[in-house]
């Protein structure tokens, strides 16, 4: 229960957690509440946190649970339920060629807006993997799911993103 030690370990994650919270909630005030709640809970539970385990994954998990229980999280909770069934637009995604993907990746705006339009479960896992560069193992800790689920959800999320980017490309 050493606050100074906690501060030393947890503060470097501050920017990352805040950015992630913004992506989840889409609102800065909500994100601030989430991050604050996350740190308060992490500080409380720090005594039970075993040294040597992954603090980042642990704190992201606290943030995620706080989000799911928050107002903005409850609104999007249906996304999680739907996730398992959403077959995404496999067909559309398949039609998005590597060339089209190439083109799409040149517009950051297009990518950000495609990410924003993804169901929160998909946005979340793509951010954890591609942006926060977590391993599947870490992601499994954050989401509290088996590693196999990480792989399948990540695949669905990417197909979905690809379809979204392709759709954007088609609109042009």
């Amino acid at each position: 229960m050493d606050r100074a030690f906690f501060e030393q370990l947890a503060m470097p994650l501050f920017d990352q957690l805040y950015n992630h919270a913004c992506w989840l909630t889409g609102d800065r005030a909500d994100a601030e509440d989430l991050v604050q709640e996350t740190y308060a809970k992490a500080l409380k539970g720090f005594a039970s946190f075993a040294e040597g385990t992954n603090l980042r994954a642990w704190m992201f998990r606290i943030l995620r649970n706080a989000f799911l229980n928050s107002r903005s999280g409850l609104k999007q909770k249906t996304d999680y339920l739907e996730d398992e069934e959403t077959g995404a637009d496999e067909a559309v995604a398949h039609e998005v060629t590597p060339e089209a993907l190439f083109l799409a990746s040149e517009s950051q705006e297009a990518i950000f807006s495609a990410l924003e339009r993804l169901p929160v479960a998909h946005r979340e896992i793509i951010l954890l993997c591609d942006v926060d560069e977590m391993s599947y193992r870490e992601i499994a800790q954050v989401l509290d799911v088996p590693a196999g689920t990480v792989m399948s959800r990540l695949a669905r999320a990417r197909t979905n993103l690809r379809a979204a980017l392709g759709a954007k490309e088609a609109v042009r």
């Binding site: 906690f6 920017d15 060339e99 190439f102 990518i111 942006v131 695949a155």
Partner: protein
């Protein structure tokens, strides 16, 4: 669309570095021979690179950072950060008070002794060991009686008259006391070696001070401590002090 049977998700897992070592090897071989998959990998790599700025899209405000830091900062250390200067200040004040009290006690003692000598002289029916208005008589009289020498200013033509002198003890040290008349007032001039322990009891720092309705001026010069004390007006005390400083200077 893709003629190649290679699973796109396997490519993604390969890029994530999550393929088992054995599969990774065969994937590398496959990519070398399959332009379609190579193009797919290139496209995925470029998409990932394009996604990196999402990591820094939202930066917390400095305000929020401070707020959060304050929330988790060790409470004790916050207290200590505040307490330290306060504790140090308190200690310093206490120390100063002790030193000042001690100093003023010493000053008080030094002054009282000087005042006592002056008063006893006033009260004495036989106040002088050497009675003379001639400084050339008074000064030599002290030779061999005190372990130091001093000069007596020429009072002729001034408001002061030399009445006489006597040997006294100040802090168990021999000292010279001169009585000087100023009108109807008597002023004592006391001279002793600074090493006599009066140094710590430095009563006053220049100028005339008023103690117990006596006017006192004291200074140190060349190892001698001088006191000029009397009930004469402050200006007279000061002028006498200046006259003494004039002949016992540098």
């Amino acid at each position: 669309m893709t003629a190649c049977s290679q699973d796109r998700n396997a490519l993604a897992a390969y890029l994530d570095g999550e393929l088992p070592a054995t599969q990774e090897k065969s994937m590398q071989e496959h990519l070398r021979g399959c332009p379609e998959c190579a193009a797919e990998v290139a496209a995925q790599v470029s998409l990932r690179r394009a996604m990196k700025p999402a990591a820094a899209r939202f930066a917390p405000s400095a305000d929020f950072r401070r707020k959060l830091q304050a929330q988790i900062a060790p409470k004790r250390s916050v207290g200590v950060r505040w307490l330290w200067p306060a504790a140090v200040a308190t200690l310093a004040v206490m120390l100063l008070a002790v030193v000042w009290t001690r100093q003023s006690t010493l000053r008080g003692q030094a002054f009282r002794e000087v005042a006592d000598l002056h008063i006893s002289d006033l009260a004495s029916a036989n106040p002088y060991d050497v009675v003379s208005s001639d400084r050339h008589t008074v000064k030599p009289w002290f030779q061999g009686k005190i372990p130091f020498a001093f000069n007596v200013p020429e009072f002729a033509g001034s408001e002061f008259t030399l009445l006489g002198g006597r040997l006294v003890y100040l802090h168990q040290q021999p000292a010279a006391q001169l009585m000087v008349g100023a009108g109807r007032h008597k002023i004592s001039v006391l001279m002793a070696q600074e090493s006599s322990g009066l140094g710590t009891g430095l009563p006053f720092f220049g100028g005339v001070a008023v103690r117990d309705s006596f006017n006192v001026e004291t200074w140190e010069k060349n190892g001698l401590r001088f006191y000029v004390i009397g009930d004469a007006e402050q200006g007279a005390i000061h002028r006498l002090a200046q006259a003494l400083q004039g002949v016992n200077g540098s």
